[in-house]
């Protein structure tokens, strides 16, 4: 053991580093285990209302689960692919109306209506997305999806004989029992909503880890470069848009029996803007971001009963400030913190610690 290399030349700094370094492994452990902790927390959050909670908590939980699932699905196209899909709420509403019409009008079973609705949504998204995505810059997509969203809302509000017009449509059915479980009760609907949330998370998780996901990120960062690298940019953008629209439609099918009522306001562009705000708040492009954002935006005010108007003003301010100064959102902040902690561990040498 050589003594020449010991850093005792600067005793104060060594002590400081020793102290910090001694703490660092614990924080680092925390940092590295956070994803697992995150999943555990999520599991607890999901199980809590499901286990014998009050009817109201179940209702709240279902609402939040649906919103979180929506935010997660929007994250796929906005966060990972970097595209502005302003039609997200429209597809949500489309899912609700389409499946309601299929079930009430055509006598299709609820569970079968889900893939059917998703298929219809996929076709619709492809038709809208393809002409819009051929151009770079994203503005075309934003405009066209915004226009489509408004058109869809107008249709829902005016195609009175089919959709019931501005008064909306009453939904009288409940999902049939599946695999022996009844999904018709409020508890059952809660599990349906959380199931959809988990499915959305799973899809985004898989995409994140796949080649497709990495290509999406490349497209988001620099389209021309991505094309140069051989990635079919239009196909990737389109796929992301179609997938996230399909997911939105899927979540919409759960909304109909849950609220027993659907109205054209579901398709409002303002709902999409709220979702974007939630994403930015929680952290775009991360798995936990949408969930954190939804909990903060919906959960807390709902419990505090803050007036809707002021909530939206604050969300708007959050969007402005967040996008300018904190583009990574809450989740991103946490992540930066974690990185710092894990980085500290690397600095320490075993000899210094022993001292």
């Amino acid at each position: 053991m050589s003594s020449a290399s010991t850093p005792l030349a600067q005793p104060r700094e060594a002590i400081g580093r020793t102290a910090r370094v001694a703490a660092a492994p614990r924080l680092a452990l925390l940092a590295r285990s956070l994803p697992i902790v995150g999943w555990l927390v999520l599991a607890v959050l999901i199980l809590f209302p499901g286990m014998g909670a009050s009817r109201y908590l179940l209702y709240l939980g279902t609402l939040i689960a649906l919103q979180a699932a929506l935010a997660t699905s929007l994250n796929l196209v906005m966060g990972y692919a970097g595209q502005f899909a302003m039609s997200h709420a429209a597809f949500y509403g489309f899912g609700a109306y389409a499946s309601a019409l299929l079930v009430s009008g055509a006598g299709v079973g609820f569970w079968i209506s889900i893939p059917l609705t998703m298929l219809l949504a996929a076709v619709l998204a492809a038709c809208i997305g393809y002409p819009a995505l051929r151009y770079t810059g994203g503005v075309h997509l934003a405009l066209i999806t915004f226009a489509f969203g408004e058109l869809a809302r107008l249709l829902a509000a005016n195609w009175h004989s089919v959709t019931g017009g501005p008064m909306g449509m009453r939904v009288l059915y409940s999902p049939e029992p599946l695999l022996g479980f009844s999904f018709a009760t409020s508890r059952g609907l809660y599990w349906l909503a959380t199931g959809m949330l988990l499915v959305s998370l799973l899809i985004v998780f898989l995409v994140q880890r796949s080649r497709f996901g990495r290509a999406l990120v490349a497209v988001r960062e620099d389209e021309v470069l991505a094309a140069f690298l051989g990635i079919n940019v239009v196909a990737h953008k389109l796929a992301a848009y179609v997938m996230s629209s399909m997911m939105a439609a899927m979540i919409g099918t759960a909304y109909a029996p849950f609220m027993s009522f659907i109205s054209p306001e579901l398709l409002n562009a303002h709902q999409t803007i709220s979702l974007i705000g939630v994403l930015i708040l929680g952290g775009i492009g991360t798995l936990s971001g949408p969930i954190i954002g939804t909990l903060v935006f919906f959960g807390i005010p709902e419990l505090l009963r803050v007036a809707q108007l002021y909530r939206l003003v604050i969300l708007g301010a959050v969007i402005i400030v967040g996008v300018l100064f904190m583009p990574q959102g809450i989740s991103g902040l946490i992540r930066q913190r974690l990185k710092r902690w894990t980085r500290d561990v690397g600095m320490a040498t075993p000899e210094a610690v022993k001292r």
């Binding site: 970097g82 502005f84 810059g137 503005v139 066209i144 915004f146 094309a227 803007i273 974007i276 705000g277």
Partner: protein
């Protein structure tokens, strides 16, 4: 029957002119700064309220119109300086920020003004006979004013040095800088002018129709449609598209179904996009990838 057609034409021109007044701001801001400013519609709404308060306070419509233009011009300047200045490099950020602005402005307005419909007495009332056609006097006034505003704006762009600088910046930012155009000044000017026009449109809207905090989405959507139809960044394109749209809506509602009024615009937009992807006067061609 011809009288009816004439009245429908006149109405379509008026409505289209109003849309165009809103849209020139959007298309110009997009052309110069690459930002799609979703919050533009809020200027229309605020302009309407300013005119409303001016009239009910006794200052009269003309003062209200002027005040709306000045106030919105200032508001546009503030927005540009404080917020949009920072998003010049990242257009998507600019779009997102404008979404945030919508939420703040609209909901604050709803909280402060309450959602009740407001109306104020327009400067002219009743109807007049022009060439045997009965026309609403106020609508006629609005048409004249709108033509005046848009015409003046167009002349400004064509004839003045500021206007030429704006057009130069729209065509090629670097080139314009090279010949000595103060880009920062120009972008601020564009915002101010566009917002002032929107404010004027708002005051004019308010003189005819009900004012609510949520009235922005209609003009905004029409503005976007015109921007796409006319070609992103093209002012003459937007004006022409505006009149076309106004006529389409007017005739569609009059002779077909009035229940689907807004739909005609969308159909027009979709058809145009299919056959003229860069709009009628497409100036900016984007790289096809």
């Amino acid at each position: 029957m011809w009288i009816d057609v004439a009245q429908t034409v006149f109405d379509g021109l008026m409505v289209g002119g109003l849309y165009a007044t809103v849209a020139v701001g959007i298309t110009l801001v997009f052309g110069i700064m690459g930002i799609l400013n979703f919050a533009h519609g809020q200027m229309v709404m605020l302009g309407a309220y300013i005119a409303f308060f001016a009239v009910t306070a006794g200052f009269g419509f003309w003062a209200g119109l002027l005040l709306a233009m000045v106030a919105m011009g200032l508001f546009g300047l503030i927005l540009e300086r404080l917020i949009f200045r920072h998003t010049l490099t990242d257009h998507m950020t600019g779009l997102t920020v404008s979404l945030g602005i919508i939420m703040v402005v609209e909901n604050l307005a709803a909280a402060v003004f309450t959602p009740d419909h407001r109306n104020f007495d327009p400067p002219l009332s009743g109807n007049v006979q022009v060439l045997g056609i009965t026309l609403s006097a106020q609508r006629l006034l609005v048409l004249v004013l709108v033509m005046g505003l848009v015409g003046a704006f167009y002349l400004f762009l064509q004839k003045t040095s500021f206007g030429k600088a704006i057009r130069a910046t729209g065509q090629n930012r670097t080139g314009a800088a090279l010949v000595g155009v103060q880009i920062t000044q120009i972008t601020a000017l564009v915002f101010v002018l566009g917002s002032a026009m929107a404010g004027a449109a708002g005051a004019l809207y308010g003189s005819l129709f009900a004012i609510t905090p949520y009235m922005a989405s209609g003009p905004l959507m029409k503005g976007f449609i015109l921007t796409v139809l006319g070609g992103l960044g093209s002012v003459p394109g937007v004006v022409l598209a505006g009149f076309l749209l106004g006529l389409a809506e007017s005739f569609g509602s009059r002779y077909f179904s009035a229940a689907f009024n807004d739909g005609y615009g969308f159909i027009l937009m979709i058809i145009t996009l299919l056959f003229f992807p860069t709009g009628l006067f497409g100036v900016r061609g984007k790289a096809r990838v």
